[in-house]
Symmetry: C2
Subunit: 368 residues, 2 copies
């Protein structure tokens, strides 16, 4: 598999894809495990899904973006009916009077890495190698697509009971987030969302490229390191070009469900190179900011990833708990997420930190 | 004007229509005053609106039901853009692929008496002489149309900003209420709702008949009594066949905004024939139950109407206050609202009074 060529997604790819996607979820995005099982079921029944490079399709092909919307913590217990995104996508096709040529992930991070694969398997469509975030983010408008002008309507949301709601005329992407969020809550905090069709030339220009392949490669690295009993954290860092920013033990965790989001903060007592330092991570579904001794060292939109120090397993914000020993690694987000337009939507200030100005993590780690 | 013939709605009819509609609002439904002004504006600009008897149109004509949805108390300050219901109705036509031949009120009580008139003036359509409640009720499914099987989808809601949301596939009328309610709250608690087109033969069978004309006649009676300095309460009772059930002074009023509804209770110290008795009225937007000395004497779906004892002005539940002197009159609801099917949706138990079994007010008033 390579980001330059089309390749079929094999059953054997699903586990590494889900592992890589969980890591790129930066603590949020929900667990891709159930979606992985559902994709496997569809592939075993004979469905095929091709991953297409961003160059493959003609400019005027229509691309659909689908994903789950709701509280990740609900998704753990409330299993999807299975065709939520598919029905939402068909409703959008109907209202927009177009046929999709391929699907693309809203976010490669977490459970939404699997939703376009499932929908593609159901609809007989390929999936584009890329996504709208290069990570996970909590809100609908936080994609490169919307940041660079994707139309907010018509979009559609569907639930497990057979309800479908179409957002037919929507003033802007923030209103879409608001309507979709409230409707997803009415639907039981787990639903499938499809946004308005996008032209391939627009997607080519605005998608974070090759992220299906990137997730797959990360997952393969993790599985390979485990099989060969290598240090998973080391191997992930070596493969991804990530930087280790902190190691330590969780000493305090505050977390509450507020407005459909898990918000909170974790404190970490440093170990190893960071012995005697205090780390602190702000959370809104995803990890938002890492401070070391009060100094912000990684912040959104760059990726802050907590890995279990022993197993290398990514730790989602729902399962963070007292006593866990973690390695905090940072990965620079794609350049499309660092422009002034992007900062207005996914920068630290957009997340409620008026005093933080985005500093790319290329500046490197702070040691005690 | 007569319920048996079509007649044009004249500018001079709007004030009496709004007065009668406010009275039939049984304390809720919102104030029709702003809608009355807006209708007048449209008629003055040359629009014409005919009121058609239920017999006028062929069986296969499509009828649209439109109305405002939201908190009446918000409608007082947040003035509509003016085309909310119109845009919702057009969205339903689009999705359902039909053209409406006429419009009908969801509820004749309160502000929603005016919404189909406004939309009809904008769309060049007539309005059917009838409605889905014969009064006001707080929820979308509480119409004779839904009670007798109207389809819950496609319906649509539109706001003052240009947002339109289509409820395309909806499991049942309770889900429609839920989605429409939550979306109306996201829209700022004031929006226009249009439900799925209904065939004329269905509307003929299920509408509460002649209620536009009834509201007009009540309003004309009130205006006539005022002009001739007659006792308005007496004249209303004589014209409508209502019964006086209580007179007294408000001694206590509890009211809270909860889940988008004004809920509460008013206590009334009896006067005149009820000297020494205590009246008590339960409220959920509308007046739900009147107890006299602990005994329920009028209950939903029958109409409980508070009139100012001096002016005969209907008192809405938002403006009920300590010290007001009121006459409580009761009007029997239409028979379509008294069947077992109707009781399940609008009976006292549906409103959270498991111990009350509906007793029609034909049994007459209780004196102390």
């Amino acid at each position: 598999m390579s980001a330059k060529d089309a390749y079929p997604l094999l059953e054997a790819d699903l586990l590494p894809l889900s592992i890589g996607a969980a890591l790129l979820g930066t603590g949020g995005g929900g667990n891709p495990y159930v979606g992985m099982l559902r994709s496997r079921e569809l592939l075993r029944k004979g469905a095929t899904v091709d991953i297409l490079p961003l160059e493959a399709l003609p400019d005027d092909a229509w691309i659909g973006e689908v994903g789950g919307i709701g509280a990740p913590v609900v998704g753990v217990e409330k299993i999807e009916q299975g065709e939520e995104c598919y029905r939402a996508m068909r409703a959008v096709e109907d209202v927009a009077k177009v046929k999709m040529s391929a699907l693309i992930c809203a976010e490669i991070g977490g459970a939404n890495s699997m939703e376009p694969v499932i929908t593609a398997a159901q609809a007989g469509l390929p999936v584009i190698d890329g996504d709208g975030m290069g990570r996970a983010f909590p809100e609908v408008q936080m994609t490169t697509f919307f940041i660079y002008g994707a139309k907010p309507a018509p979009a559609a949301i569907a639930d497990d009971k057979g309800n479908t709601v179409v957002f037919r005329d929507v003033v802007d992407m923030y209103w879409l987030e608001r309507f979709a969020r409230d409707t997803s809550v009415a639907m039981g905090a787990a639903a499938g969302l499809a946004i308005a069709p996008m032209r391939m030339d627009f997607v080519r220009r605005t998608a974070v490229p090759n992220t299906m392949t990137q997730a797959l490669q990360i997952g393969r690295t993790v599985l390979d390191a485990r099989a060969r009993r290598l240090d998973v954290v080391d191997r992930v860092i070596a493969t991804t070009g990530a930087t280790l920013f902190f190691t330590g033990k969780i000493t305090d965790i505050r977390r509450e469900l507020k407005g459909g989001f898990a918000r909170g903060e974790a404190k970490i007592a440093g170990s190893g190179d960071w012995q005697g330092c205090e780390g602190r991570i702000a959370i809104q579904n995803e990890n938002l900011v890492l401070w070391v001794d009060g100094r912000p060292v990684i912040m959104v939109p760059d990726l802050i990833i907590n890995l279990d120090l022993e197993t290398g397993e990514p730790i989602t914000t729902e399962v963070l708990r007292y006593g866990q020993r973690v390695a905090v690694i940072g990965l620079p987000v794609h350049d499309l997420m660092k422009t002034p337009e992007a900062m207005a939507v996914v920068g630290p200030q957009a997340f409620g930190y008026p005093d933080l100005t985005f500093t790319p993590l290329a500046f490197g780690p702070v040691h005690g």
